[in-house]
């Protein structure tokens, strides 16, 4: 029983060594990097047809070209299908390798192959060991007390906190992977919602509703839009709880809930009045029912249709944006069509707020903007930030305090002591080693 137990322990140790060799091998690192290279390449070459407004709902998939359709299919296959499972498996492997390498850097596992530096020192092993300790201390290496004749090798680790710095790189990777993996479980995000001026968006899950109160545009000197600031009113229990300012590069927080303004785009407000009475308008196609005010959202040059059922009329509105992102270069072509026979009753091109009279009906048009809003609860964001910070710290550690694997032994030989330093091949000839050897007279 005892022998079987011992062989089991020996087998476990050999297996652990094999795993450690694979994990610490540069080939493993290169293979993992190559996997991510393929993923990044696919992500980098696939053409994204989304516009900067992220208004993906407005895309017409039938208008995609052949190359776009192929690249979309490729990216779907690689990013969502088999590739997604492979990506998860590789990420898990990266996590495991990072964990083992981190502990390897902090605890210094014994070397399997290395270069031996032999030299003799005068005096007893304790005296020689003390000289060795002093010499190693000058290059920042620590060495424990003389372990005695019975123990063959003693590890020499970097002194101080600097020995933990390179391992921080792998700890950072672990934190980032954890933040990515756990985010769907701990966090939450709403759908991207387009919100026009005065519209209300209810977040039933959080028990609040949002109203877009104000949009402020700050032009650049070249006529483009420099800043786009929107003001949201947050209502809780029917009462105004707070007003929030959103910018394209600035989120707003309310009770742990983050609001992001993902983008913005042009919109047109349409109203129809018959004397003092507002008529109902129906957007075609549209999921919402008839409303007295319709906000039509555009993404570039597009056309929209609005029906006025009570008057047998349909409005065809074509939006033109001459200079993308330029203020004041927009226009709207309006056609009023009788829906029963398709006859164009009236046609006009407008470029600013105006109104039109048709069959005793007053149509009012006003240019405005809409924003794309997303609400998120992201409790693990801090973990991701910490991971990124540790990555940088670890890299600095690798550059300025690179890890050194060094094992030392000393035993009495004649009148003196024979010392052996065991170190990896790549450390041979390193300046710090030359410094230690010269101090010891070797």
């Amino acid at each position: 029983m005892g022998q079987r137990w011992q062989s089991l322990v020996r087998w476990s140790i050999r297996a652990s060594w094999a795993v450690w060799q694979v994990v610490s091998s540069p080939y493993m690192g290169l293979i993992l990097l190559a996997f991510f290279f393929v993923f990044a390449l696919v992500g980098g070459i696939r053409p994204l047809v989304r516009r900067h407004t992220l208004d993906v709902t407005l895309l017409d998939s039938s208008s995609l070209g052949v190359s776009e359709a192929v690249s979309r299919g490729l990216s779907t296959w690689l990013m969502d299908g088999i590739g997604q499972r492979l990506y998860r498996a590789v990420s898990a492997l990266v996590g495991m390798v990072s964990l083992l390498r981190m502990f390897g850097l902090w605890t210094l596992p014994p070397l399997q192959r290395g270069v031996e530096k032999r030299f003799s020192l005068a005096g007893t092993p304790e005296e020689a060991w003390a000289r060795l300790r002093r010499a190693l201390a000058t290059v920042g290496q620590g060495l424990g007390p003389y372990p005695g004749e019975g123990v063959r090798w003693a590890p020499s680790l970097r002194m101080g906190l600097s020995r933990f710095l390179p391992g921080m790189f792998y700890l950072g990777i672990l934190f980032l992977l954890l933040a990515v993996a756990l985010s769907p479980l701990c966090g939450w995000q709403s759908a991207i919602y387009p919100l026009s001026l005065g519209e209300i968006y209810s977040l039933e899950r959080e028990g609040i509703s949002l109203r877009l109160e104000e949009i402020a545009l700050f032009p650049r000197s070249d006529g483009g839009i420099g800043r786009f600031v929107s003001q949201l009113a947050v209502f809780e229990g029917g009462h105004l709880a707070r007003r929030l300012k959103l910018r394209l590069d600035h989120r707003a927080l309310y009770r742990g809930l983050a609001f992001y303004q993902l983008g913005f785009g042009p919109a047109v407000r349409v109203e129809a009045w018959e004397g003092e009475k507002a008529l109902s308008l129906q957007q075609i196609p549209g999921e919402e029912g008839p409303k007295p005010i319709v906000h039509l959202r555009f993404s570039g040059r597009q056309e929209r249709f609005v029906a006025i059922p009570q008057k047998d009329l349909v409005l065809r509105l074509a939006y033109y944006d001459e200079g993308e992102g330029q203020l004041g270069r927009k226009g709207l072509q309006v056609q009023v069509i009788r829906s029963s026979n398709g006859q164009v009753v009236k046609e006009s091109f407008i470029s600013q707020q105006s109104q039109m009279v048709v069959d005793g009906l007053t149509l009012r048009f006003a240019f405005e903007y809409y924003i794309l809003l997303r609400a998120k609860r992201e409790p693990l964001l801090l973990l991701g930030v910490l991971g990124g910070f540790l990555l940088l710290v670890g890299l600095l550690g690798f550059v300025f305090w690179p890890p050194r694997s060094l094992w030392v032994t000393g035993r009495a030989r004649g009148a003196g002591t024979e010392c052996i330093l065991l170190l990896p091949e790549e450390e041979e000839g390193a300046p710090w080693l030359e410094c230690v050897l010269s101090m010891l007279g070797g």
Partner: protein, 238 residues
């Protein structure tokens, strides 16, 4: 156009200061790098002011930048050897002057990411172009590649930070993000290879040179490349 010239000048200045830091006290070129880097840094900062309709010394970040660079110039002229802290001080001053905004210089985290990415590409390419003149600079390979990886990581993280602040997603497999990742992976592979193997034996020079050149080309051309291919990134193109 003037901003493009400013950015390029500042980028080259930062690169030269980085080189003078790496080679400080080891090569004759360190003093030249420091002096030219400081001169170009001062020129870039000087151009920034008029471009924004301000005098060069009317804002404190520009003043800090110019004073730090002036110190670098005097150190480069008077000191017998370039000390390593001087290029770092000049680099910090350049960073303060360029990126810490007064009210008149808009803060753009994506610009920081772009500049860092360009710097890391230029560092890799520049190092391998420099080698034929100073073969002994192989010894600095690990430090240079480590710094390049640091810059690449900084570029990726700052990009992710900007994306998180703006859109609430720090990673979304976007074209620009993937290009950042490609750059990081190439440099990380080089670091991984140089960590265990010796440079001359494996002849990694060609690989690193082509990788760095590819990245530099992509980064310089990326906004124009995307527009030329009619491919739009989900993110704002600086």
């Amino acid at each position: 156009m003037i901003f493009w010239v400013c950015r390029m000048t500042l980028g080259v200045a930062a690169l030269l200061l980085l080189f003078s830091f790496v080679f400080a006290g080891r090569h004759r070129g360190d003093r030249l790098f420091l002096l030219v880097g400081c001169f170009l840094g001062g020129l870039g900062l000087g151009l920034f002011g008029p471009a924004r309709g301000r005098f060069p010394l009317s804002s404190w970040p520009l003043m800090v930048g110019l004073v730090g660079l002036a110190m670098g110039v005097w150190e480069g002229i008077l000191s017998p050897n370039v000390r390593r802290w001087v290029p770092i001080l000049a680099l910090l001053a350049l960073g303060v002057g360029s990126f810490l905004p007064g009210k008149e210089i808009p803060w753009r985290i994506f610009w920081v990411a772009l500049v860092l990415a360009c710097l890391q590409s230029a560092l890799v390419v520049g190092f391998f172009l420099w080698l034929p003149f100073h073969p002994s600079a192989w010894r600095q390979g690990r430090v240079v590649m480590g710094l390049a990886l640091f810059l690449a990581t900084g570029a990726m993280l700052s990009w992710g930070w900007g994306a998180q602040l703006a859109w609430g997603v720090w990673w979304s497999w976007d074209v620009q993000e993937c290009w950042h990742l490609l750059g990081w992976l190439i440099v990380a592979s080089l670091v991984q290879a140089t960590e265990r193997w010796r440079w001359p034996r494996l002849h990694l020079r060609g690989l690193a040179l082509s990788g760095g050149a590819l990245l530099l080309g992509v980064w310089v051309a990326s906004p124009y490349l995307l527009r030329a291919l009619a491919v739009s990134s989900a993110y704002w193109l600086p």
